[in-house]
């Protein structure tokens, strides 16, 4: 049975239900906690750690930590801001993120969170890994250079499309996005209206012939920071 409980985020008391994940409870209450691998329509993944908060002093991923009555949560302090920046900066240096020509620039969630946190340059050296572009599908481009391995497409394809087109393969630094085919994306049953395409936060999965339609200055995050419909800070 789900009881109504009270948790405190950055000094603000909010009501939620037992077992609701902290991030969902916060967003429902209008408080923004930065996040990236989390998507409201998908089960949480807990992999990117951008949504890390302090729960009674301990660092926890707010997207996978169930709320309990009386929890005292810190989301907005200098230490967490720096940790979140560090995570985002690692994602930037780990792939090849050339925002200046990326079709997703202006509506990319990785970029938008970086903007909101005020990142000017990553503190880590760029790795410039060798990654492939898979253009074999008639309607979809898969650019591994931009993939941040958030697993959103994996979850969406499994849970929403019922297809299992994508999977995360291998482990650790070698982890990569795999497709359910012998060779490439063109051999899968992915279709243009799949939820998996819709949820990619970056420019890794793109529908062909749709790029650069919105002028610079009018794109989603050009003037409005991500999460600005919610209260809360960085």
């Amino acid at each position: 049975m789900k009881e109504e409980i009270t948790i405190t985020i950055d000094g603000v008391e909010i009501k939620t239900k037992t077992g609701e994940f902290i991030l969902r409870a916060a967003l429902n209450a209008g408080i923004y906690i930065p996040h990236l691998c989390f998507h409201p329509d998908l089960p949480p993944h807990g992999s990117c750690r951008v949504c890390t908060v302090k729960v009674n002093g301990r660092h926890m991923a707010s997207c996978t930590t169930p709320a309990e009555d009386g929890m005292v949560i810190t989301s907005d302090d200098a230490e967490l801001l720096d940790l979140r920046k560090a995570v985002i900066e690692m994602l930037f240096v780990e792939g090849n993120h050339f925002c200046m020509f990326c079709e997703m620039s202006g509506k990319c969630e990785l970029q938008a969170v970086a903007y909101r946190l005020g990142i000017l340059v990553p503190r880590y050296p760029n790795l410039f890994p060798q990654r492939e572009v898979d253009a074999s599908h008639p309607d979809v481009m898969l650019d591994h250079n931009r993939c941040i391995l958030c697993g959103r497409c994996v979850r969406a394809s499994d849970e929403k499309d019922g297809k299992h087109v994508f999977e995360l393969m291998e482990r650790g630094a070698k982890t990569r996005l795999g497709v359910d085919a012998e060779n490439n994306l063109g051999e899968t049953n992915l279709s243009i209206d799949d939820k998996a395409l819709d949820v990619c936060p970056v420019g890794a999965l793109l529908i062909k012939d749709t790029a650069y339609r919105i002028p610079i200055g009018e794109r989603q995050y050009d003037k409005t920071p991500v999460g600005s419909q919610h209260k809360g800070n960085k």
Binding site: N96, F98, C99, M100, F101, C102, S105, G106, Q111, A114, Y115, R116, G118, I119, L120, V121, P122, P125, N126, F128, P129, Q130, R131, N145, I216, D222, K223, P225
Partner: protein, 180 residues
């Protein structure tokens, strides 16, 4: 009249887009000239770098000449700023970083579809190309970073004004931090 602070600029492995945008501050350049004197810069063609308050670097470090210029700017400028994505992250020239240098040179000078009787340049007067393109802060200490391809004229203006004001903390407004 006290001497005005000096500002020098350089373009390393960049496209001069950031310098063009510096000129895009439009009539504010008249106010800028009241505030500063330009030292060595592609926009005035002064050849020798003097001691400067601010150095603006466009472009990443792709060859031995870029390296030498950047190190000289670091020695002579009190505040050194990476201006634009090539300086802060390598930018478009750094796309070659994902391809081995030998393959890049062979494609450009031997195997490219428009090459006739190709040869890989090796004249000793040419700067030698580095193994990869480096963001400026991976080579020398950089004091401020201004991303953007190019950074907007407003953000360049904001950074210059901030640096010349002697204030402590630079916080660019949301609209002025862009990576494209």
């Amino acid at each position: 009249m006290t001497e005005k602070p000096k500002v020098a600029t350089a373009s390393l492995a960049g496209c001069f887009g950031c310098h063009m945008t510096l000129l895009d501050i439009d009539d504010r350049i008249l106010s800028l000239i009241d505030l500063i004197d330009f030292d060595k810069s592609p926009i005035d063609d002064i050849k020798e770098l003097g001691d400067c308050t601010v150095g603006l670097i466009e472009g990443g470090v792709s060859n031995s000449e870029n390296l030498e210029t950047l190190r000289e700017f670091r020695r002579k400028c009190t505040i050194l700023v990476s201006m634009g994505d090539c300086a802060t992250s390598g930018g478009i020239p750094a796309m070659r970083n994902t391809v081995p240098l030998k393959e890049c040179l062979e494609e450009a000078y031997l195997n490219g579809p428009s090459v006739v009787d190709g040869v890989i340049p090796n004249d000793p007067d040419l700067p030698s190309i580095l193994d990869r393109v480096y963001p400026c802060h991976e080579v020398v200490k950089i004091d401020y970073h201004l991303p953007g391809c190019p950074p907007s004229a407003d953000s360049i203006w904001a950074v210059l004004n901030f640096l010349l004001s002697g204030e402590e903390n630079l916080e660019l407004p949301y609209e002025l931090i862009k990576y494209d």
